[in-house]
Assembly symmetry: C2
Homo-oligomer: 232 residues x 2
DNA sequence: ACCTGAACACCGTTCAAGT
DNA sequence: ACCTGAACACCGTTCAAGT
């Protein structure tokens, strides 16, 4: 789909550095990686590419298309691990791969986590998960439910990881512990008691906890499903 | 905390309609509810309130503070259900309450789901969950892990629900089913087979599936935890 | 076919001035 | 103490013009 035929430059056959949709998006991702979404404007992007702002519109429809393109680039950067046949491990490995890319592009990650893309790129990850769950014994409908549940967790977890970014990591939480007695007096006894655990947040540990929980639940579901048809 | 003393108007004692932080934020939420985040600007907000744009800065620090304020308002609108003592039901009820508010303010919801707030408002929900999990038998540390896992799922699930809003609900997914043979040929056989289930998305059903999964997993964890200390 | 520059209709925010 | 208007330094995008 789409006008992606991208004929090679015809004028100068040798070393044409010409502007390209690809180049525009790569530069855009770099700008976001460097300075966050707010550092990306059509004008800053043009400057980065040494070109007039309006030239960009020959390769992308508008700024929104640039943001979609960054998300697509992000998805392409995820290298999907080869399934091993052990579905629990495979699901976890896939989630970990997504997470790794988010760690490499923390400021671009919200673009992928927040917008819904019509891209085919997103489907290859979907394909992989569905394949794994199918091999595990989940029928298609339940596999889709499981996929969506894991994806929802992934989105929420990664969004938390990347947006507590380098700016103020757990700063307000740090205050929390110190105000402990204040919390107890304001009717928040459980928050007060859990304050040390609320103040600390080891992202990897939290991520693993959640994935453990989900995988365990899926496993349990699979067991009861296998038992039923046999009609013991 | 904060300069919220808010002395009553002194000039005209009677019926002063004066601008207020509260009024500014209410108007801001209304604008977002009506036209989405992009309809909110300091200037449109001022116009809505029949005032010069600069007057707003007497009540809020800047636009970012307005967005935080909207999120706070949102949190305040959630009416937390009274715990019944049945923790599975209580956790679910709490999540459902959050979800209900998101349904009432679909365009404002991303503000709450996306930014991390330093507000005390967020803590009362936390308190509630921790209380429920404590009563269920979870020690504080594990309760915090569980809270974060459920919250991550909640964020991801609601983000999907609200951003596939009235604009193009499942439109690209609709195409999916029709391209079935195309999908099979492009190496996406599992996507092809699950296409009808991928194309449809009953948000409530998906939400319940995920919550069921999480609650079941927590229950299982609680059981093994209870068995262990007894050292059978 | 691709790039350019001026121009339009917006932004958030500062600052000096009003009352 | 609160509100105002002009002004600054930005935006995304259209359009007519260049080559």
């Amino acid at each position: 789909m789409g006008p992606d035929g991208a004929a090679p430059p015809r004028g100068r056959p040798r070393g044409g550095p010409r502007l390209t949709r690809e180049k525009v998006l790569e530069a855009a991702l770099m700008l976001v990686d460097r300075g966050g979404t707010e550092a990306l404007s059509m004008r800053s992007l043009a400057t980065e590419l040494g070109v007039d702002a309006m030239s960009l519109y020959n390769h992308v429809a508008n700024k929104d298309a640039v943001l979609d393109g960054i998300a697509e680039l992000f998805l392409g950067r995820i290298d999907l691990p080869e399934p091993t046949g052990h579905w629990q491990r495979d699901v976890r490995a896939l989630a970990a791969a997504f997470r790794r890319t988010a760690a490499q592009h923390p400021r671009a990650a919200p673009l992928v986590l927040t917008r819904q893309l019509a891209s085919f790129k997103g489907l290859v990850g979907t394909e992989s998960v569905l394949g794994i769950l199918h091999a595990a014994g989940f029928p298609p409908e339940e596999a889709v439910h499981a996929l969506r549940t894991v994806l929802a967790f992934l989105v929420g977890a990664l969004l938390r990881e990347v947006s507590s970014g380098p700016t103020f990591s757990g700063q307000n939480l740090g205050d929390l512990v110190e105000r402990r007695e204040e919390l107890e007096n304001s009717g928040l006894p459980h928050v007060a008691r859990a304050a040390p655990h609320l103040a600390a947040c080891n992202h990897e540990e939290e991520f693993d906890f959640g994935m453990d929980l989900l995988v365990a639940a899926l496993e349990q579901r699979l067991r009861t499903r296998k038992r039923l048809p046999r009609r013991d």
